[in-house]
Amino acid sequence: MRRVVITGMGMISALGNDVSDNWEKLSKGEGGIRPITAVDTTTLKFKNGAEVRDFDPEKHFSTGLDLLDRFAQFALVAAREAVAQSKIEFTEELQCRTAVVTGSSMGGQSTQDAGFVELYRVGKDRMRPMSIPRTMANAGASHISMAYGIRGPVFTISTACSSANHAIGQAFWLVRSGAVDVAITGGSEAPFSYGLLKAWEAMRVISPDTCRPFSRGRQGMILGEGAGMLAIESLEHAQRRGAEILGEIVGFGMSSDAGHITKPSAEGAALAINNALNDARVNPQQVKYINAHGTGTPVNDPMETVAIKLAFGEHAKAIAVSSTKSMHGHALGAAGALEAVATVLSLKHGVIPPTANFLEPDPECDLNVVSNVAKEFAGGYAMSNSFAFGGLNAVLAFRGYEAS
């Protein structure tokens, strides 16, 4: 089987509008959770979110902006950064041998929300003509495809909070199998519309203050937004063009809880972790870091603790665990993509980004949690977990690049 390497990355989140700004914050444990500005929060029970700041769409898009919901803008901005770093040149031949696989849970829902306000509240009897192409969840993938003339497999996966990990996993397998040579893959999300925030409020899983995964005193998740994109390719393809290699994807595993629509199952999560280890042909003892799903809800974090113990046994205690959602928030369908970038950077720089806002250990989450301060990463394999509403689990395994 072919090895699959990462040669470019892009990221936009509450922590910054490119990879280096994001890493600056991640590696210092500095969060991007602040009062929400996109909507008036007077009638919302929670006031804080992890919004992208200082983002002027006009600066990024001289034309075609009317076709792009915010989630698609993020997808394109991150994809451009990843492609630029990879220095891939899309020749006619390569365009047909490249895939784009993106994840998004909600698509362009803020376009739809705004349109429905006009329709139902303002009383207009029409929607804007671009409502459908802006709202569709595959808009990000399609615009990336058009931007680079990519004509291979292009599609979007929507599995709630696992969307990006499912997408990256499919792209990884497409490259590994030889179906394509190159893929642009990741996820994007822009969930800050009043209608959607109200829907999250009704779920009663959003924290009134901040996000403290695995910590005592955690009160829930904080919504985030943004995009992460990876340019991945076969090792031979990268070597042939002399590309700088940032890291390697080594395994992907999926599972379904087949249980409850919102309550996660440790057995289901552990099965996805085991499937990823088997796919990577990695000995569990070699895993040294897990970028956890770690939403900071009362329910997820103890469940994930049990799942990691089920999958790793005694070795679980030796694995450094952190949730970067404590800094960039829970970006839903983009979450796995932001966390993939964070995980690859942690392997590359030998630094584990911490779980910010950590108060004190919770006996129900007795993992080796990297709290508040980054820690040295001495090497080995890293994994990134995503567990979605609907019971759908997707786990990726990475390592730093070594030639042999």
């Binding site: 029970k45 009704a202 779920m203 009663r204 959003i206 009134p208 009160q219 829930g220 409850h260 629509i261 919102t262 309550k263 009362p298 329910v299």
Partner: protein, 82 residues
């Protein structure tokens, strides 16, 4: 049984699709088989029925019908004195 108590029991019975007589002031959520998703649905119905807003942290502490009825009563009282 006053109005609040009977309405709370009725909403729980409807949500769980169980006979109303099975829900009493002494039932715990565990006995009734209520999970977290049932709970958020019931809270939503209670908020609508009594025109109150139930804070998340308060909702999380409630584990029985009696605690729920007491909680709803105190929120109604707070609303009426406001």
């Amino acid at each position: 049984m006053d109005n609040v108590e009977s309405k709370v029991c009725e909403i729980i019975a409807q949500q769980k699709r169980i006979p109303p007589e099975r829900v009493t002031i002494d039932s715990s959520f565990e006995e009734l088989g209520l999970d977290s998703l049932d709970a958020v649905n019931i809270l939503f119905e209670l908020e609508g029925a009594f025109d109150i807003s139930i804070p998340d942290e308060k909702a999380r502490q409630i584990k029985s019908v009696r605690e729920m009825v007491d909680g709803v009563r105190s929120l109604i009282a707070a609303k009426e004195s406001a």
